[in-house]
């Protein structure tokens, strides 16, 4: 076991454990934020695991999660909009903290990779991940205002 895998283990155990607690209990606004946080934490953990196992092709998993994780949160924001409109989540502190964690992980893993095409891919994943989760957080707190049927 090396430092990368240890970091991933801590992120998964502490971070995703907390997210699981958040998604299992409390009002709906807390649960949707916790769901968004779980993808935002697992994606950096996958990058750390790929680095720890020295398997660059495992980065594809992080790429797919960085794309589809926020899409999953948008699904909840869109289809639970009526319920969330009464009691919108306000969790910018958590959102930016987790986004910062993602940025740090992408930065460190990119530095370890060195300038190459793999590093460009890592930076793209980082941008998609952070942008996606911030937008998903925005969508949860009133991104779909109407209570329409569309």
């Amino acid at each position: 076991m090396n430092g990368w895998i240890l970091a991933a283990t801590v992120a998964l155990g502490a971070g995703v454990g907390t997210a699981l607690w958040g998604v299992a209990t409390g009002p709906l606004r807390r649960r949707v934020v916790a769901q968004n946080m779980s993808t935002a934490l697992v994606c950096p953990a996958l990058l750390l695991l790929s680095q720890g196992y020295t398997r660059p092709s495992y980065v594809d998993l992080a790429l797919v999660l960085a794309l589809l994780g926020p899409v999953g949160t948008l699904v909840f924001a869109r289809l639970l909009a009526d319920e969330l409109a009464d009691d919108p989540p306000r969790a910018w502190g958590v959102t930016w903290a987790v986004a910062g964690f993602g940025a740090v992980v992408v930065g460190v893993v990119s530095a370890a990779t060195g300038p190459s095409r793999a590093m460009v891919k890592l930076l793209v994943i980082g941008a998609l991940l952070i942008g996606g989760n911030v937008v998903a957080s925005r969508a949860l707190s009133g991104g779909f205002r109407g209570v329409g049927r569309g």
Partner: protein, 86 residues
Amino acid sequence: MADAVIVVVLLLVGATATTAVAVRDPARQALVLSVLGVVLAVLFTVLQAPDVGLSQLAVGSALTPLLLLLTVRKVRRRARGKGRQE
């Protein structure tokens, strides 16, 4: 020691799956289920099966919640319509 990450992820999968069964409301259950999908993908990755992990991510992160929530919406709309008629 090298298997610590496998143990942690296995525990997470067990806890998430149990939660998904214990939560009763379908919409909230879909939230837990999407977390379960992501955690399962990590389990497949640490067991060195990234192909399966990628399948799980593709299906579990957006597609399953979408299908579930659309079904919930249809059922609720139908219940509302029936309530209005009576």
